[in-house]
Symmetry: none
Subunit: 255 residues, 2 copies
């Protein structure tokens, strides 16, 4: 799907930025780059900033107008500052990625267009676009670097792509990412009983007046979503502690 999405840079001044854009694109799985009249390209600065994404620079098409760059595209989205005199459908990067994803899955060609470093796209250029996308920057300081702006859009395109491909991979991996299976309810209960036994033994817990101590510990260890390995380790600690106490008690003189 990402193959159908093109990045277009209009009149880029600094060749280093073209390299940074290539790198940002490649990390996110994009490869189709078109340059509308860049000031200097190819250029060693572009190559060095691309940091291993030279293949994208080598394949990049240089054209002389934006119309030419997007001629074969069914969906064109232009990056824009928030305020424009003629309001266009304005979307955020996440909505941009959803739209672009839908279109490219239907085998449409999509272009996301980025303007000049200092003043973006002209009104005429923006008027060629189906949508305008705005990266929600701070009002007082909205000056995103060109490479950074492409990185944000490319990141959202990739997130949307991955969500489509493997929704389960994007969902929270917080507790399922362990190398060992989650402990069963029974394993955790046995650990908690063992823990309570030790707490009583070391007189941390008074069985005649237990209060909420075990409730608090129970909540803690339930929340931690222990895996089997962790339960075994914790029980090992309890057993070793009891063993030491027993050894020392044995050698203790009576009376």
């Amino acid at each position: 799907m990402l193959d159908n999405i093109r990045v277009v840079l209009v009149n880029t001044s600094h060749p280093g930025n073209i390299g940074a854009v290539a790198r940002a694109m490649k990390t996110m799985g994009l490869s189709d780059l078109r340059l509308v009249e860049p000031d200097q390209f190819p250029h060693p600065y572009a190559t060095s900033r691309s940091a291993g994404a030279e293949d994208l620079l080598n394949q990049a098409c240089v054209v002389s107008t934006l119309q030419e760059a997007v001629a074969d595209c069914q969906l064109v989205i232009g990056t824009s500052a928030r305020e424009r005199k003629i309001p266009w459908p304005l979307i955020n990067p996440r909505e941009c990625a959803e739209l672009a994803g839908q279109a490219s899955r239907s085998n449409k060609k999509v272009a996301v267009v980025f303007g000049r470093e200092d003043r973006g796209l002209t009104n005429d250029e923006l008027a060629l676009c189906n949508y305008h996308v705005n990266i929600p920057a701070c009002e007082g300081y909205s000056s995103l670097n060109l490479g950074a702006a492409v990185q944000v859009i490319a990141y959202e395109l990739r997130m949307s792509h991955l969500e489509q491909q493997q929704p389960e991979k994007l969902s929270s991996s917080v507790s399922q990412d362990c190398a060992f299976p989650d402990a069963s309810h029974e394993e955790v209960e046995r650990f908690l009983a063992h823990f309570e036994e030790l707490l009583t033994q070391i007189e941390f817990l008074d069985p005649s007046n237990p209060g909420v101590v075990m409730t608090r510990f129970r909540r803690l260890f339930q929340r931690a979503m222990l895996d089997s390995k962790e339960v075994n380790m914790l029980r090992g600690v309890l057993s070793d502690t009891q063993r030491i106490i027993k050894q020392l008690s044995k050698t203790q003189p009576t009376g």
Copy 2:
């Protein structure tokens, strides 16, 4: 809310990247930057790449260890490549922003930690974190520029912030079941050091061959997001165990 979120850069080699990070942060409304032993800072390259975000550079704290940089934080999230031998709770940038947003709205201090340009964070540094965040880059080419990585995370933090601000999207705030504040990074570290001491004492842990024992326990307790009361209880258990062992050792006959 964004005021409670700190960006920490560890051992940054290129001062230009520090400037790019400052710019990325400022565009998204972040301002708290800490630098752990940067190679060169302050530096003219940092200033020029910051492009108007010099105020962040001027305020940036330089410290000598990661522990120092995050000592007052209740939630520490480290950026990481996907594959690690001992998996930690691994989240994506969007989940990272949700977690950080929830924490900072409860007036907790949050740090997002970024490693070296060439090899990221060490395993020891990652072990200091509650969560690891991974930017879902291409498998064959996952080399995000440091400034670009900060831009993606900062963008998600801002998106989450803006979603919260829009009243219609305000979800019922996650009810914190804990009556006590989350433990600070420092409190948790002190507990882990105390725990390690006991594990050595009961010979669960061999200091000459520690293996991954403490890493596993560290992961477990970082994941549990302990509150201050729980840390105190756990330390009470450790102290009482040590007290019993000491008492029994004293009364043990010599020879």
